[in-house]
């Protein structure tokens, strides 16, 4: 399974309302690999993973998941999706445990009630992200970072082989970033495959095997993520580029300098 191509995207094009967002993108992620898709806002990086997950229809091209064409793929329990944020609260309370329990449905199906294995998986997933003590608390009382960890626990509860994360580090406190970087590290160490979209990597950087930079709907760069250098390495650096015009040709960190703004 390690040598298997888990995600295989070939010549993908995606558009909304006649405007093409991705043009001819090809990307392969092997089993056990941790791949970061980087790029500025509006580059199409989120659209790429949403199309891989089937949330956005492809205009052209092919997507295979675990060797099966995505249109015929039914084994969704193998995929754990971590959206950018918890859906906007409607006012009906839900506990952390209830939200994480949703992650078991892909494995269990909609007819079978939750059993011992389901409850054990929910507990283990919450322990993994360090939120087990909050299991009975309403998710609305959690900080943004803790809500993000809840969503990772929900994905982990289904015991997936592939985790797909959309901007997991956006607007998250440092403690939570460390906690879920550790959880992702353990997932990868167990042989799990990770595909994540990020604006910046922060504590996730050591996990990343390969970075793919999406720019204006195409893959602009692919390779080992370089260490940030110069003033970019300074923790206080806030990624504002007033000198963007001068640097336009170069790649600042991995994303094109002219699009890089503070998160």
């Amino acid at each position: 399974m390690h040598l298997m191509t888990v995600v295989d995207v070939r010549h993908l094009a995606v558009g909304y309302d006649g405007r093409e967002i991705l043009h001819d993108v090809s990307l392969a992620v092997s089993g056990g690999e941790v791949v970061a898709i980087l790029g500025a806002n509006g580059s199409g990086k989120s659209t790429l993973i949403r199309t891989i997950l089937g949330l956005v229809p492809a205009a052209r091209g092919d997507i295979d998941l675990f060797g099966t064409a995505q249109r015929k793929f039914r084994d969704w329990a193998r995929v754990g999706y971590v959206p950018q944020r918890l859906g906007a609260g409607s006012g009906v309370p839900a506990t952390v445990g209830e939200v994480v329990a949703s992650g078991r449905l892909a494995r269990r199906g909609i007819f079978r009630p939750a059993g011992t294995a389901d409850r054990a998986a929910v507990t283990a997933a919450l322990e993994d992200v360090g939120l087990l003590d909050r299991i009975a608390d309403p998710v609305s009382t959690l900080s943004g970072g803790q809500q993000q960890r809840t969503l990772i626990a929900r994905a982990l509860a289904g015991k997936p082989d592939l985790l797909v994360l959309d901007e997991p580090t956006a607007g998250v406190d440092a403690a939570s970033q460390e906690a879920f970087a550790a959880a992702l590290g353990r997932f990868a160490a167990r042989g799990g495959t990770i595909l994540l979209v990020a604006h910046e990597l922060g504590p996730l950087r050591p996990l990343i095997d390969r970075a793919v930079v999406v720019h204006e709907g195409r893959i602009a760069h692919e390779g080992v993520p370089p260490e940030p250098a110069g003033h970019h390495a300074d923790p206080g650096h806030d990624h504002v580029h007033p000198h963007a015009a001068l640097e336009k040709a170069g790649i600042c960190e991995w994303a094109p300098a002219d699009r890089m703004t503070a998160g």
């Binding site: 999706y81 409607s90 006012g91 839900a94 078991r104 909609i110 009630p113 607007g171 504590p203």
Partner: protein
């Protein structure tokens, strides 16, 4: 209570209690996905079904179930596809439903104003023995559906995209919700009336969530509130000779106000009694 020596009162009470339980069990999902007013819209559409039934001399309950189910599925399909025109399409459907109902009821042999009013606002004396059987059977079906599929419906209402990626049959579950909403609206029309049925779906949930912490506890408390409001509402309306649906809704609203006020008072007292709590770390973006 003397009034319950009459069979029609017993039937009215049974009908009200079944609806008091079933309406919030369904309503919690509608509230969760911000469709609190959908029951009201389907109630409008159901009136056309009543008109069709009266015109064809068939049971208005059955024709109302069919027409409102068609309407609910139509609304759901518009919602699924919809972007811009959804809101307008819903409005057209709602007003078409109530206008069609009023015209069809007027054309039927039994076209008195009183007849129209009992469907719009409910009536204690119109629940026939057959109606009770239909209400209990369909009410039980609604309750079982909402209980058995609670984890799946919760997942869909909480995060529809996540549910899709989990491989859940999201479209089918949404259509199931739509049809169940139509069924609930129709069985409630005899006691609460089509214009007030939505209140029984929403108000108990709104009251319960003032003090609960989880989805399951909210659902359970909302059903208890719905049951209590329906029972008290029927009893009071029989004693005071008021409309049962309106009385039930006012009882439910009174519970909401009482819980909201009580909850706020308890929270204020707790805050005063407690030592300053540990503060969560603020959300900051860690810069790479």
């Amino acid at each position: 209570m003397d009034l319950f020596q009459y069979d029609f009162m017993i039937r009215a009470l049974i009908g009200a209690l079944v609806i008091g339980l079933a309406a919030p069990a369904l309503g919690i999902y509608l509230v969760q996905r911000r469709l609190s007013l959908i029951g009201d819209g389907i109630g409008h559409v159901a009136l056309t079904g009543v008109g069709v039934g009266l015109l064809l001399h068939h049971s208005p309950v059955i024709s109302a179930v069919i027409v409102s189910a068609i309407g609910a599925v139509g609304i759901e399909l518009i919602r699924q596809r919809g972007r811009t025109s959804g809101d307008l399409a819903l409005a057209l459907l709602f007003y078409g439903g109530i206008a069609g109902g009023v015209v069809l009821v007027g054309l039927s042999d039994d076209s008195s104003n009183a007849n129209l009013m009992q469907y719009l606002f409910g009536s204690l004396i119109t629940t026939s023995p057959q109606d009770v059987v239909v209400i209990v059977a369909l009410g039980a079906a609604v309750l079982i559906t909402m209980t058995v599929f609670r984890p799946a419906l919760f997942a869909v209402c909480n995060d529809e995209e996540y549910a899709k990626v989990s491989g859940l049959p999201v479209r089918t579950l949404n259509l199931l919700m739509a049809v169940t909403t139509a069924v609930t609206v129709t069985i409630a029309m005899r006691t609460v009336g089509l214009l007030l049925v939505s209140a029984l779906m929403v108000v108990p949930v709104a009251a319960a969530q003032q003090v609960t912490r989880g989805f399951l506890t909210t659902m359970a408390l909302a059903m208890v509130i719905g049951l209590g409001a329906a029972g008290v509402g029927v009893a009071v309306s029989a004693e005071a000779d008021t409309a049962p649906g309106a009385t039930t809704v006012i009882v439910a609203l009174a519970v909401f106000v009482a819980i909201a006020a009580g909850g706020a008072a308890v929270r204020a007292l707790r805050r005063r009694a407690q030592h300053p709590r540990e503060v969560e770390p603020p959300d900051v973006v860690l810069q790479g």
